[in-house]
Every structure is written in C-alpha cells, then in structure tokens.
Symmetry: C3
Subunit: 278 residues, 3 copies
C-alpha cells in the first residue's frame, strides 16, 4: 500500500476509535494541545500529579510526555507514568522541549530516555542533537534554527537520526524545514508545512500531541509518527493559505491550524501529503 | 415572572454589578475561563496559592473551584478558600473535573463536598454519578459520554440529581446533550447548546465560570446556575451557526463562543432560551 | 530625532536581532505572552524552575518577571533569575500583577523591587500605587479602575511616577486610559489603545512581554518601554477597528491583537503613534 494511503487510513481509525491520550505537559501550550487532540478525533486528558498519573495512564491509549515548563514534581510524575505505560504496553512519546537550553532539562530528558522505553522521540534539531550527545548551541525552545538546507547537513542529520533510532529502538522525529522520521531502517522526509509555523508557540508541542493521538490508534509507531507530522504540516500550510495576509497574522494562524485539523479528511491527506522515502 | 425573563434580568444585574469571581482552577483552560468571565461582564481573579487565597476570596463575590490538573498544594488552597468563603457567605461552585478518572481526584472532590458548603455542583454525568456514589466508567475529563437519550435513563438521572441536591442542600447541574439543573425541589431541563461543544476543551469549565459569575450577582443560586447553563448553551449554538463550515472548525468555534458571550443581550436570551421545568 | 521615529526604528532592530526573552510568568496568559513575543519578532522562553532559571536567563537578552498566579517556588525562581540577570547586565521588567490584592503578592513584589535592579516596572494604577506605598483599594488583577480622567488626578499620578522612577532608578510605566512612561526626568503620555482591551485577560501581561522584547534590543530603557506601550496600544485599537461589531467580540479581539503585532510595521507606528512628552 502507498504511504499516503496508510496515513489516511489511520485518520479513519482514530476517528472511529477515539483514543484517550494522557498528557503530562507544560502550561504554555496545554490548551492548544488539548484542542488539537480533540480536533483530530482523539480525547485528551491532562494530569500531572504523582498521586494520580498511574490511574490516568492506565485508562489511556497513549502517553505524551512534554518537557516544557518542567519542574521537579512534574518530572517525577513523568517517570512514574512512563514506567506504568511501559508495563501496560501503552506507547509513549517524549517531546524534550528545551533540551540543551539548561542542564536541568537536558538531564531530565536523558533520565527519561534511559528509564522509559519510548515509542517516539520528537524534537527540533538542536534538541535531538543534544540528546544524541552532540554539543549544540541552543537558544531555548524555538525551532527557528533547525533549517536543513545544505545537502551535506541533511545527510549528517539523517545518519544521526537513524543511528539514534537504532540505539533507542524508537522512532526518531526531527521537525524543521524538512521533517525526518525514521525507525532506524526506513526513513521518510516530509515536505509539508510552512515556515510561519515557527512564529506560533506550541506547533512542535501540537505535533507531538497529534503523534500521541495516532499512537493510540496504531501498533505501527513509524506510520503513527509520520501521520502526526504530515497532519501538522498540512494543517499549517492550509491555515497559511487561508490567511487574509493584509490583516491576519499568527493569531489567526493558530486558530486556523486547529480548524484545519478538525476538517482534515482522508481525501485532504491523499491530495496534500508530501512524503518521500529516503 | 417567566423563567427566561428572570435569566435575562440577571444578565442585566451582572453587567451593572461587575462581580469579582475568584477562580482556583487548572492551567489548561484558565485563560478561556478568565476571558469568558470578562466577556459576560464580571471580573476574574485567578489565585491558587495557599498564602493568598484567604485575602483574595475575601474581596470576591463568588468562588469557582475547578479540579482540572489538580495537585496537592492547589487542593489545600481550595479547602482554605472554600472555608473562608463559607464564613463570609460567598457562594462557592465546585467543578469536579475528572472525578472518577483517578482515586486521587475522586477523594479530593469528596473531601471538598464534605468540608465546604457548596452553592452549586456542576459536572458531566459520570462525574456527578461518581460523587453521588454510583460506580461509573469514566475515560477522563471529556463529556462525550453523557448523552441522555433514552427516556428511562433521563428519569433515573433526574431522581439522582434531585436526591443529591437535597442531600447537599446545593444546586446540582449535570451538563450534557440535555442539561439538568435542580435544587432538589424544582428541576429544569435546558436544551440549548450543540454537540460540537464537546470537541472544544474547557466548555464545561467555562460553563462553571459563567455560573460562578452569575452567583456573584444573585442570591438565587438555582436561577444563577440556570443562567450560566443557558448562556453557555446559547453561546455554543450561535457560535456554531456562524461557523463557515467549509473551512472553520473547533478553533474558530472557541473564539466565537467568547464573542457570543460578549454579545449576549437580554433580547438574545429571551429569544433563544430553551428551558422547561419538569 | 522625533520620538515616533525612534520607536519605529526599534521595531526594525528587534526584527533583525530576534532577542531571546526569558519569561517567568503565570499560567493564565503565558500562551498569549509567548505568541505576542513571537509576533513582534523576538523569541520567548518560558522557564520558572529554580533548577534552570540561571541557565536560561544567561542565554537571554532580557527577563520578564510576571507575578500572576504566584506561588512560593516561582517567587524564589524570580529572585534567583533576577539576580543573575543583574550580574550579567540583562535588563529586567517586573509586572506586579495583583499587587495590593493580597498581602502575599504585595510583599513578594516589594521583595523583588528591593533585591533586584529593575529596568522597567509596569503595572496598572492601583498596583503601582500599592508598591509606591499609597494605601489603595484594589479588586484584583484587572485594570478597569485606573481610568485617569480628572486633570488633577493625572498631575498627582505623574508626580508619583516620576518620584518612584527616581527612587528605583528604573522606568515606571502605568497603563490605563492614558499611559504614563517615565524615567524620572522625561515623561511621556501615550493615548493609543481602546477601552475594550480591559475586557481581554492578559493585555497588561502582553504589554509587559512587548516591553521585555524591546528591552532585549535596546540600551535605552525609556524608549523600549515606550515602544512596548505604543505597540500594544496600536494593536488594541487596530484590532478593535477590524472587529465585525455585530457578531465579533473579545474572543476575536485577542486573536486580532496578535495579528496586529505580527503585521506591525515602521510605517504603521509612524502613522498611528500617539505620544506626547509632558
């Protein structure tokens, strides 16, 4: 089956199955993450207290761990919930927001990676490089830097992604101008999206929530990750196309991204999906 | 006086009195709750630290306790603020978000109910059933499950709501496809609203904030609760009517719900209000 | 050079320099603050844990301390980050949200002012009066009260602002119907904005984030503060002009405010800027 057909079928499954997606996430983008999860056809539940994450994750079809606005009590809850998810075979995605920007976040992300079996790790280039062990220069949590334009750069990133995926036995997703998704064997590039998305906070977080939603509807983590990245990219580019450029900007763009996910159909995916296998 | 007249008059009072509504709430929907409170004509103040809730609630006309993203320090602040509110005769509404989804939340909600005198308790069907003591199956915090379609089911829920209201000496509100509002004697059904509202996170929280706002402007808790439910329902249905279905979805819907509350007038209430007494 | 020219040039600088703006802020408006910072052309990083604020602020060009939804661990992080910022000559803006509404917040704000050297202090009238030491009546965090209409009142506030600026050796910003910006010597009034902005939560917080962004691009704190206030005012008034008053309200207004900042140009500033020097 062609890859865009597989992705579009997964959208059908998610809308039918309506998976519950447990989020342990940050307070900056939690609302958008919840709304985009609902818009896609899944159900979010946000819970980060150590006293309840075991109960909550046990009800869920997948777990999204997002490290934005990390603090020590939330970090503990991530470990507890992740371990329970592993025990129950519930897939876990980690979004290591800001890894590299502080020692604290880098160490917390490394601890999660070492103690929790991940289904997917999604970050921007500097976050993934940091966790892979390459000394990198980061400015915080934005994705503006990870533009992959030069061919030789792209080849290096591809190798790192594959190697990291094999080490972790997880799907690695690097989002940027061109997105990379790999399980260590197969590698996909996604060319959907628009650069204006980096001017809206939380487009990375929302992408992770979409992947988390698809993970709750599929055993194939590679396709689930790909479906999340493609869905987010299509939403961003079609939201941008609809903008009235004279008077609208990133405020309207965010609203239209949620709208686009709500209106995402199998047909839209088949028509717009820009994936190529390496 | 007819009931829709009473509700519309309360809107007039709220805009004139501009009550201060203290919220102890979750970080997922706090922004929407603050904005819908302002849009209605009240003033929100969000404060959840145990060191200041006594001061803040003493300035307020009502207190909204919302259990989303609960943690232990916020739970303590809820108890402290609730007791102070009781002492000062400031009405309290509890939104037991996610009760039933974890033992922690269920126990926390039960503790609040036993230690604080509530004016209103508002939840979806599974949350209210959980607190009433019926073993229920919940998937978290969404309201998609509480569809009351079968006549015999509706009769059961009605009895439970009345009985619970009498036990707590509080107004019970169950929101869903049909909303139930009762003080144990009188019972109202509200048919306003649209099912798409369950695809936006926080419509339940926002409903509680609207009720909290009306509570700050009226001694009649039953009418205040009814006014909140009717206002939210009208906002949801008129927001949906204005949606450009080809390209807009739940992102725009949320924006339009706030807009609709901002534009809510006594005339709109008189025209759209769909309440019937049991 | 004329003042509106100076402001418009600073917009050019910010878009070119893309300063990183560290926020320690509240969970109610954090999303809007991040998005408006991005829309202006700066990069926000939200981090409030004591274990990482030293690392984060060291990467930043400016620090925004916002006291909304304050708690004790965030209060400690504010002190730590502020001191580090002082050591590194990174400008700090304090937004004392709710000072006066509780002893806790008032004391926390006073502590920050006494231990941290501020570049800018921005609040509404009751917050600034509280911190200056005038006993004031506040209702929480909204700005509806600080309408400066009477001439004699305005003269008093002007004197207080100048005196406070000289005491703190910082720029004082009082936002309201007419905004006051002073470094103790020069004093500007800004007449941009629209009263409907007080019906959207976080317009004050967003103003502080804009000032914080300009602070990251300029050594002239007075002009940076002025640029933030003018930008916010222009965004509010042009967002209001674009509203379809029949069906849109404060939900759409917030979206359009972000849009307006995204579309803010040097020409728009030159044309709309309403500043006069005292």
């Amino acid at each position: 089956m062609e890859i865009n057909k597989k992705i579009s079928e997964l959208l059908y499954v998610i809308k039918k199955k309506n998976p519950l997606v447990h989020h342990i996430t940050n307070y900056v983008t939690a609302n958008d993450c919840a709304n985009i999860t609902l818009a896609l056809g899944a159900s979010p539940v946000m819970a980060d207290d150590i006293n309840e994450v075991n109960d909550i994750v046990s009800l869920a079809s997948s777990l999204v761990i997002n490290m934005g606005t990390l603090n020590s009590s939330r970090a503990e809850a991530m470990i507890v919930a992740g371990k329970r998810a592993n025990k129950l075979n519930i897939p876990v995605i980690l979004d290591p927001v800001g890894a590299g920007a502080s020692t604290y976040r880098t160490e917390a992300a490394k601890r999660i990676i070492s103690e929790i079996k991940l289904a997917v790790l999604r970050g921007n280039l500097s976050e993934i490089r940091t966790l892979y062990g390459i000394n990198t220069q980061t400015r915080g949590v934005d994705s503006s830097e990870n533009v992959l334009l030069k061919r030789e750069e792209l080849i290096k990133e591809k190798q790192m992604a594959k190697d990291f995926a094999n080490k972790l036995k997880a799907v690695i997703v690097i989002t940027g101008a061109v997105d990379i998704i790999t399980d260590g064997k197969t590698l996909y590039y996604v060319m959907n999206g628009h650069e204006i998305m980096s001017k809206v906070t939380g487009t990375g977080c929302m992408c992770s929530s979409l992947i988390g939603s698809y993970l709750g509807a599929s055993q194939n983590y590679l396709i689930a990750a790909l479906a999340g990245v493609v869905s987010m990219g299509i939403a961003g580019e079609s939201a941008y196309e609809l903008l009235d450029k004279k008077q609208e900007g990133t405020g309207s763009l965010k609203v239209r991204i949620i709208d686009a996910i709500y209106n995402l159909s199998e047909d839209v995916i088949l028509k717009r999906c820009k994936v190529c296998e390496d």
